[in-house]
Symmetry: C2
Subunit: 277 residues, 2 copies
Amino acid sequence: MTAKELFNQIKRKQSFLCVGLDTELTKIPEHLLTREDPMFEFNKKIIEATNDLAIAYKFNLAFYEVHGAAGWNSLVKTIKYLKAHHPEIFIIADAKRGDIASTARMYAKTYFHSLGCDAVTVSPYLGQDSIAPYLQYEDKWTILLAITSNESFKDFQLIENKQTGNRLFEDVVLQSMHWGSDANMMYVVGATHPEYFAAVRRHAPHHFLLVPGVGEQGGSLQKVAEHGLNDRCGLIVNSSRGIIYADITGNFAVEARKRAQKLQQEMKALLTAKGLI
Amino acid sequence: MTAKELFNQIKRKQSFLCVGLDTELTKIPEHLLTREDPMFEFNKKIIEATNDLAIAYKFNLAFYEVHGAAGWNSLVKTIKYLKAHHPEIFIIADAKRGDIASTARMYAKTYFHSLGCDAVTVSPYLGQDSIAPYLQYEDKWTILLAITSNESFKDFQLIENKQTGNRLFEDVVLQSMHWGSDANMMYVVGATHPEYFAAVRRHAPHHFLLVPGVGEQGGSLQKVAEHGLNDRCGLIVNSSRGIIYADITGNFAVEARKRAQKLQQEMKALLTAKGLI
């Protein structure tokens, strides 16, 4: 998917919401557990309840891998379903992989070719040659971790570089910008640390940013938008648990929709205020 | 597995060799491709040819994930086979994962509990709370990336910290040492950059180091040993392609054994010179 197509979807849906399908068998409504593939059934219901409000779905692979081959099959089925019924949706494999080039080629093939995702999240620790294989795929996106949403992000991401004076996450953004472009790279910037948004946006004014941490993790959408919105929106804001586990009864999809709608309405107001819709 | 059990195995086998089962269908002998599970058949043959020379096997998950559920099943079967027939072997999931705590808990469950691996490789970019969930498992090991074996390792790993004067990989080692201990943490230090071995060993004199990059990637075992050996060996040196793809005919297992044996003999000499056996 191109940036233009993504922005068109954002304008049409008046939303930059990504729903994170971090599906856990211990958290989904009990009545689904008797189905042949409970994870897929749950995902399908969430997708049907939210696809007009969300522009993207994000799959954190850990939640599927934990069930081995069965989990992998649930993931494949969900992605196939999404592509068949809602081909406009931007699909993110939240893998946070990071490995040497020969291995990265395998991961890229898995997420882009086999699974057909539009984007994959990647960790920067190994540097350029570990990212390059992902950038070979046309109209696919590599989403590099810059500022993560967890508490311990500061252990290493804020280290100041003696030579450049930049903090590590800034060096990650500034160096990697030249590996790809704003047409095939995005950055992860956690909503829980809005004070770093301005720095990332200054270094990368035109890139899309994937923003986890709104909702359960406590990040503020207003602050994210204040620092992060650019002239083609430039934000994909994810909520996982806050939406998909809004309710655990037979009513879960309706409640998930309400939460998604609340975020979408806030996003609509922010996009309007910015003059983007 | 405890460090003591690992060292006992090293002394018994006179080896600190890890064989990397980065199995690719395009590289294994053609006659195996007609089998029901070619990857498992290949792995089994390599294991049978090398298990008296190797103390560990390492599975880079990318090579299995690329085949989806089928690849995952080949991985599970191989690990089950290893545990049933060679229970002394140290099993490493080379996953290089790194995610927030709630996700890390899922990954830890997958590798330690479901797959039954002894160790998992993890990326340090997210800091302490992303590592803590792995350290909850008794007698299991978290292997943190310090210096990776690729060319671009220098992009970020060598950045000098303005406050501490340390390079990033040193801060990773120095900080993370206090998260766990030398009884549940190891570090990855690529054989291709022996000049950094001394620094890691100085900071972490008692930890085991997992060393990729010997063989196809060009690292020298002599230099690794010179800087890395400690009084309980403290090294697990991996070779993947250099061993498993030594030959692609019906003779592949014999040739793989020869390569493994050559490394084991060198290791025996190094262990002897150091007075460890």
